[in-house]
């Protein structure tokens, strides 16, 4: 489980963020002592830091600059200011992304996911699911003696489910992921895509690849 550290001085935002990230199955740590932040960060060694710019004692940008001297932990800056100066400063001090409040939660999760993925640096071309091999770039799914081609949308949906295999993914999340890839499809199209994805896996011999959890979403087994 990935560890995310939240540095945010507004208590309600902090608590809600904590809940949001825990629900998205991250391990969440909160920093509430602002006097010795740098050492605290190094001690807990998170995989990612959500850092608010307006924090007590020390400006978030200064903290970031000090942190970058000793560590490369990915940092996403969060602020309520829509100011280019803050953004440019943060990025030049080595922030990995910059988000302004009030953020859309699904977009926030997308950004976190993207930054974590980038830092892991393990973008593979081929993944394996049951006894199938999937070539992501070409959109081909191969079994021993058969192959099926997935459309771009189907591939986006499958990959999203695959990364969260065994846990429920809501339609809203899938929709966000598709729109985030510039595929602005509607509800019907999503249903169609999922049923086509199912039938393609059925062709390859996997009967219950994607289950529907009523009122909650889908789950890949």
């Amino acid at each position: 489980m990935k560890k995310i550290l939240i540095i945010e001085d507004d208590e309600s935002v902090r608590n809600e963020l904590k809940e949001l990230l825990s629900n998205a199955s991250y391990e969440v740590l909160v920093l509430d002592n602002y006097t010795n932040m740098l050492d605290d960060i190094i001690n807990v060694h998170p995989d990612l830091i959500l850092l608010d710019i307006n924090i007590p004692y020390m400006n978030g940008e200064v903290l970031l600059r000090n942190l970058r001297k000793v560590s490369n932990i990915p940092v996403i800056m969060v602020t309520s200011k829509i100011g280019e100066i803050d953004e440019v400063l943060s990025m030049s001090y080595g922030a990995d992304d910059y988000i302004t409040k009030p953020y859309n939660p699904t977009i926030l999760l997308l950004r976190i996911g993207a930054v974590l993925k980038r830092s892991e640096n393990n973008i593979t071309d081929v993944i394996f699911y049951h006894d199938l091999s999937i070539e992501i770039k070409k959109g081909i799914v191969r079994s021993k003696d058969e192959e099926v081609i997935l459309t771009k949308n189907e591939m986006i949906i499958f990959l999203y489910l695959y990364e969260r295999m065994g846990s429920i993914v809501s339609r809203d999340e899938l929709m966000t992921e598709l729109w985030n890839n510039d595929e602005y499809i509607n509800d019907n199209a999503l249903t169609v895509n999922i049923s086509r994805l199912r039938s393609k896996f059925r062709e390859l011999g996997i009967r219950n690849a994607i289950l529907t959890r009523k009122g909650q979403g889908y789950i890949l087994l």
Partner: protein, 340 residues
């Protein structure tokens, strides 16, 4: 100031001079002074006054000509004093002194006023940032507790209105907070679409976006705001039909990049289309839709002017509305980039 005007102004003095001449002349005739002297006197007398009047006229003529010319060219007319050389005759000096005092009091008033407005703007801007914090908490809360979508929608509306006033303030401060860099149209559109995803899906509006990999030189956040305003308008003024759609496309034309946002909503009546960029203009459509403020396109147009883009609106009532952004290709920028 024409010579005839000047002479008309001095009419009384001229009559007095001529009158004096005749009085002196009659004395000279009465005292039987020789004719040659009378002629000499007449010539000298009139020559003297002509020289006096001419000298006076020329001084004033050049001074007022200068004032009028500079006043005509000057945009901030109250600054005229700064441009004048001090005149060397009495009424000119009085006028100059008056102008100087008026100018000074005007400038002081302006400064007070500007300070007040700026103070207010700073406060509003700070206030917006403060409000955004609880708003962020609310948004996260509604997401975590899976609250009804209706609530989320209302919160998003608040966010949009907040953003509108923020950019309104930004759009007419001189020290604008923007940074011009290459912005991928795809990325901006994606961001806007994700923000409006819920309402677009709910209203079942089809989105097609074909902007390729085009990039424009602009400020990312401002462009996002502008496109968001246009898309919100499209959503707000959508007709109740089965195939609602918003089509976005971008292409190169001459040295420009054109971004078109076309919807098949209610369109804008012909009599209103010339005024959609006016402040607080809501028009006929504004009466159909309750939440029209008339500020959206006004602000967008202002921001466009600031950034050096163009925005045009084309529409047919009851059929479509097309908003077109034109971005100039910055020659300097591409030149420098090529050199690298």
């Amino acid at each position: 100031m024409k010579l005839s005007d000047y002479l008309k102004d001095k009419l009384f003095i001229i009559i007095l001079v001529i009158l004096t001449y005749f009085i002196i002349l009659s004395f000279m005739i009465g005292f039987k002074i020789i004719i040659a002297f009378q002629v000499c006197f007449t010539i000298i007398y009139f020559l003297l006054f002509i020289i006096i009047f001419l000298y006076d006229f020329i001084r004033k003529y050049f001074f007022y000509k200068e004032i009028l010319l500079k006043l005509d060219m000057l945009e901030e007319k109250y600054l005229i004093c700064e441009l004048l050389s001090k005149p060397n005759f009495l009424d000119g000096e009085i006028l100059y002194q008056m102008l100087y005092e008026i100018n000074k009091s005007m400038n002081e008033n302006m400064r007070d006023y500007k300070e007040k407005v700026n103070g207010f703007k700073e406060y509003v801007e700070m206030w917006i940032h403060e409000v955004k914090i609880p708003l962020a908490a609310l948004i996260l809360y509604t997401h975590n507790k899976r609250t009804a979508k209706a609530l989320v929608k209302e919160i998003n509306k608040i966010d949009n209105y907040l953003e509108q006033i923020l950019y309104y303030i930004r759009s007419d401060t001189t020290e604008a907070d923007y940074i011009i860099k290459e912005v991928s149209l795809n990325k901006v559109i994606r961001e806007v679409m994700l923000r409006n995803k819920d309402v677009l899906l709910e209203k079942n509006i089809d989105i097609t976006s074909d902007v390729g990999n085009l990039k424009v030189l602009t400020d990312y956040k401002w462009l996002e705001f502008m496109i968001n305003q246009v898309i919100s308008n499209s959503i707000k003024y959508m007709r109740d039909i089965s195939n609602k759609s918003i089509k976005i496309k971008a292409y190169k034309k001459d040295k420009q990049i054109i971004l078109e946002i076309l919807d098949n909503g209610m369109g804008i009546p012909k009599c209103d289309i010339g005024r959609v960029f006016n402040k607080s203009f809501t028009g006929l459509n504004g009466r159909k839709v309750s939440s029209s403020t008339g500020m959206g396109l006004y602000i967008v147009n202002n921001l466009c002017k600031k950034l050096g883009h163009r925005i045009d609106v084309e529409s047919k009532e009851g059929e479509y509305t097309k908003v077109v952004f034109s971005f100039d290709n910055n020659l300097f920028y591409s030149e420098v980039k090529n050199m690298e």
